[in-house]
């Protein structure tokens, strides 16, 4: 079974590292990160991303642009606002996203 590929985007380097480390603790998930919008788009264009986690610090205009780009280029991608910063909420957020994907 292919791993669920998760792109985490956030502006805080240490928090982003923590989020990716936690994602990769699950053997069925693969986490990659991007700190800038440009990096995020590059990652998205070159890999088949299943879930995008929007982490802290993303400016409202950037968020709008990123969401528009991702949904325009691959409407089936699931975009989730991640709260808490690599915390106890991460796993449940991803499970909820997977549940939504299974419905659609």
């Amino acid at each position: 079974m292919e791993k669920v590929k998760i792109l985490a985007i956030g502006r805080h380097e240490q928090i982003l590292e923590t989020v990716i480390r936690l994602i990769n603790q699950n053997p069925d998930w693969e986490g990659i990160g991007a700190m800038t919008d440009k990096e995020a788009v590059q990652q998205f264009d070159h890999q088949l991303i299943d879930i995008i986690l929007l982490c802290g610090g993303i400016e409202p205009e950037s968020e709008l642009n990123l969401r528009a780009y991702f949904t325009a280029h691959r409407p089936q991608v699931t975009i989730v606002q991640h709260y808490g910063g690599g915390s106890g909420l991460l796993t449940a957020e991803i499970y909820e996203a997977l549940k939504e994907r299974a419905k659609s």
């Binding site: 709260y83 910063g85 915390s87 549940k99």
Partner: protein
């Protein structure tokens, strides 16, 4: 108004015993995932934690969350990346707005005593705010047979404040005492009652120690203590 309710019995909570940390989760957290118990409106985490002597949560990050700690027993040592270092004790309340990102640690301040505290997370009404920390000492006498406000959205109101249209109250009620809580935040708000100790009826629902009961589409709630009771009321937006 016809109210809606949800009951979370104490023994239905998630449980994680890590040795140094014994934690009960009302809502999905860490390894506990229950799709039926994700949140109550903006209330996302209600963890009932016991930490062994000298142990605690090491330095770890957070962002975009309002984090409230309420010690129930023992002393908790707090340190964070904003330079705050403090001890919080029973009767204190701590509030952190994680905003764009903070690091903090929370440890048992003593080697030979347990510390028990509630860790409560509320979704913020603004993302990416400047991180902030607040801690105050409450007068425990002010909750005897009344509801003492310990948190609000307003910096100049009683208790600590957070970035959300939320109000917390604690009451320590003698057996037989009844009181009413009137919601403050309007029709979008609900109330989650968490029994710290004792037996109590909330709008007729019998509750025991560590039970949780959420109500929404309601203007006020009636609380009757069937024994000496301590209860925490968390009023939060249901849509946010």
């Amino acid at each position: 108004m016809m109210s809606n309710t949800i009951l979370h019995k104490a023994d239905a909570r998630g449980h994680a015993n890590h040795g140094w940390l014994n934690s009960y989760h009302t809502f999905s957290f860490g390894g506990f995932y229950n799709p039926q118990s994700m949140n109550f409106g903006a209330l996302r985490v209600l963890n009932d934690d016991t930490v062994s002597g000298g142990r605690g949560f090491g330095d770890h990050p957070h962002d975009n969350m309002e984090i409230i700690s309420i010690p129930l027993d023992g002393d908790l040592e707090h340190e964070d990346s904003m330079g705050n270092k403090a001890i919080i004790r029973k009767g204190d309340i701590q509030a952190m707005s994680a905003g764009t990102g903070i690091y903090h640690s929370e440890k048992n301040a003593h080697e030979n005593e347990l510390v028990k505290f509630l860790q409560i997370w509320i979704y913020p009404n603004q993302k990416n705010v400047q991180p902030r920390y607040d801690q105050i000492t409450l007068n425990l006498n002010d909750r005897h047979n009344r509801l003492q406000q310990i948190l609000s959205p307003n910096a100049d109101d009683e208790g600590v404040w957070i970035y959300q249209n939320a109000w917390f109250h604690i009451g320590k009620l003698d057996s037989g005492l009844s009181t009413t809580y009137n919601l403050k935040g309007g029709a979008n708000n609900g109330v989650y009652a968490f029994v710290l100790s004792g037996d109590v009826a909330v709008n007729g629902q019998q509750l025991n120690t560590r039970d949780g009961f959420g109500l929404w589409d309601v203007d006020q709630i009636e609380i009757t203590a069937n024994s000496e009771t301590e209860i925490l009321l968390m009023e939060v937006p249901m849509k946010f």
